[in-house]
């Protein structure tokens, strides 16, 4: 096991993937609990599709992919929250619109420029080869920022998640913190989607926290357990993918599914006792 791991570390591209992967898994699992409990589970999916369109456009324009995708996703996240507040189009409908709309724009852009090739497959299902050195630097800085902001605003994020009405009434600026959550989510999604792929990134957000919620009885332990699970599943997934030569993103998600079922069974057994 250890020797396999050391062998993996001898490939620079795998080291890059490991660094970014661990950090993004951490960010996603922290935000995940809040998003799941606030009924925003689909926001990750919506944003990753927007991110796909943005990446395709960036390639078409020969611009740096991240610097285009991050601002576009942040704007999309704010828009999604805005739409959720107004009642004409409901949140889930808005997310569905955004998902398919952005995907269509992305596919059109790709087919008009480079044509449908393996690049598209990489966008969709992720590739650990996609990380360049500058991507890694940017990813490390941004995920460190996400982690720091999350820790600093942990208590406020908890209050806004548990009871928005109470928080607003006692003078907590709920709009601001909802925007902070959207902002952090957008950044995390963009950072993770190159590796996990557009179609799989939201699993990084929802699986660890849902798994942790099977057994945890406190918010703080839920967060900590989901962070551990997220990193653990990522490392297991990437190792299996290395050994069996299967796509990394899918491997990580399959690990997540297995762990989820184990925890669900533990929960059932506990309820019986």
């Amino acid at each position: 096991m250890l020797s396999t791991f050391l062998e993996m570390l001898s490939y620079p591209f795998l080291v890059r993937a490991l660094i970014v992967g661990v950090l993004v898994s951490l960010c996603a699992s922290l935000l995940g609990a809040t998003l799941v409990l606030k009924r925003y589970s689909m926001i990750g999916d919506g944003l990753s599709h927007v991110g796909f369109a943005a990446l395709a456009l960036a390639y078409a324009m020969n611009a740096a992919p991240m610097t285009v995708a991050i601002p576009v996703c942040v704007v999309a996240a704010f828009l999604l929250l805005q739409i959720k507040d107004s009642s004409k189009i409901k949140g889930d409908a808005a997310t569905a619109l955004m998902c398919s709309g952005a995907l269509a724009v992305g596919v059109m852009t790709v087919s008009l420029t480079t044509g449908m090739n393996t690049d598209v497959c990489n966008y969709m299902f992720g590739s650990i080869l996609a990380m360049s050195k500058s991507d890694v630097t940017l990813s490390v800085i941004l995920s460190a920022a996400v982690l720091l902001l999350y820790v600093l605003f942990y208590n406020k994020i908890f209050a806004v998640t548990f009871d928005e009405a109470f928080s607003a009434a006692t003078g907590v600026r709920t709009k601001l913190y909802n925007m902070l959550i959207a902002f952090l989510t957008a950044i995390t999604v963009v950072l993770g989607m190159r590796m996990m792929g557009t179609l799989l990134i939201s699993s990084l957000i929802v699986f660890p926290s849902l798994t942790a919620m099977r057994v945890c009885r406190r918010f703080k332990t839920t967060i900590l357990v989901s962070a551990l699970l997220s990193v653990g599943c990522f490392l297991t997934g990437i190792t299996v993918s290395y050994l069996a030569s299967v796509p990394t993103g899918a491997c990580i998600v399959v690990t997540d599914i297995l762990v989820f079922f184990v925890f669900a069974v533990i929960e059932k057994i506990r309820e019986r006792i």
Partner: protein, 236 residues
């Protein structure tokens, strides 16, 4: 000087007035019950009192040293809270957030305050239990403890006995009454349970898209409106 004063307040949603001519004040130590049927404008007025919605006309003033953020609020429970993994301690502690300002973490005083609130409501034993595993009545006590953590002056309760069985309802009313009398906490409660309100409150505000009645409970029972509603409910 009154804690809360409403001067000829009206509320409107997108130009349509839903509540008009509300004119009352709440003095320290009062126990005011806001009653009325569904859609009478109770929740709207509540949002106004909490400064979550601006009145379209008139003004809502806070006085006697009460800051806008010093209102202890017991909101109706949301669906998300039913499967929320949080301990009682975490929930109650979040009531201290408004006193923290920009400080990111809680202090020793905050934690002491939580302990005091839990003791006051007799739920110290629930401290480490998970919120979603509690009964409806226990959950209401926890949210009440959280509200007490944010203020010692004014409590605003939004339909607090909805979903509670008769025994828990009686117990909850008794708890509120003791907070009002012994801790001198001013209480404003929104309720559709008019008979319960009449038994508990010192003042009644009856809404029906406008102010139908405001005065002491004794005056309310003697009024035509009060006789009709209290008597009518007793009859059925």
């Amino acid at each position: 000087m009154a804690l809360l004063t409403c001067r000829n307040v009206s509320f409107a949603y997108e130009g349509t007035t839903v509540l008009t001519g509300v004119d009352f004040c709440v003095n320290p130590g009062d126990y005011l019950c806001i009653v009325g049927e569904n859609g009478a404008g109770k929740s709207t007025l509540l949002k106004g009192l909490l400064h979550l919605k601006k009145p379209s006309q008139g003004e809502i003033l806070t006085g006697d040293g009460l800051k806008a953020t010093e209102i202890g609020y017991l909101p109706q429970q949301t669906a998300a809270q039913k499967d929320f993994p949080a301990s009682v301690y975490e929930v109650v502690l979040s009531g201290r957030l408004n006193s923290r300002g920009i400080h990111p973490f809680y202090s020793k005083t905050d934690k002491q305050e939580v302990q005091n609130s839990l003791r006051l409501l007799g739920i110290e034993a629930l401290r480490n239990r998970c919120y979603r595993d509690l009964s409806g009545g226990q959950q209401q006590r926890v949210l009440l403890a959280r509200a007490l953590c944010s203020t010692k002056k004014l409590l605003l309760l939004d339909e607090p006995v909805t979903g509670l069985d008769p025994v828990m309802t009686t117990e909850f009313y008794r708890l509120i009454a003791s907070l009002n009398r012994e801790q001198k906490i001013t209480v404003v409660m929104v309720s559709h349970d008019i008979r319960g309100a009449v038994e508990e409150a010192s003042h009644i505000l009856h809404l029906g898209n406008r102010q139908l009645f405001f005065g002491t409970t004794a005056e309310y029972i003697a009024s035509d409106l009060g006789r009709r509603f209290v008597g009518g409910e007793a009859g059925c």
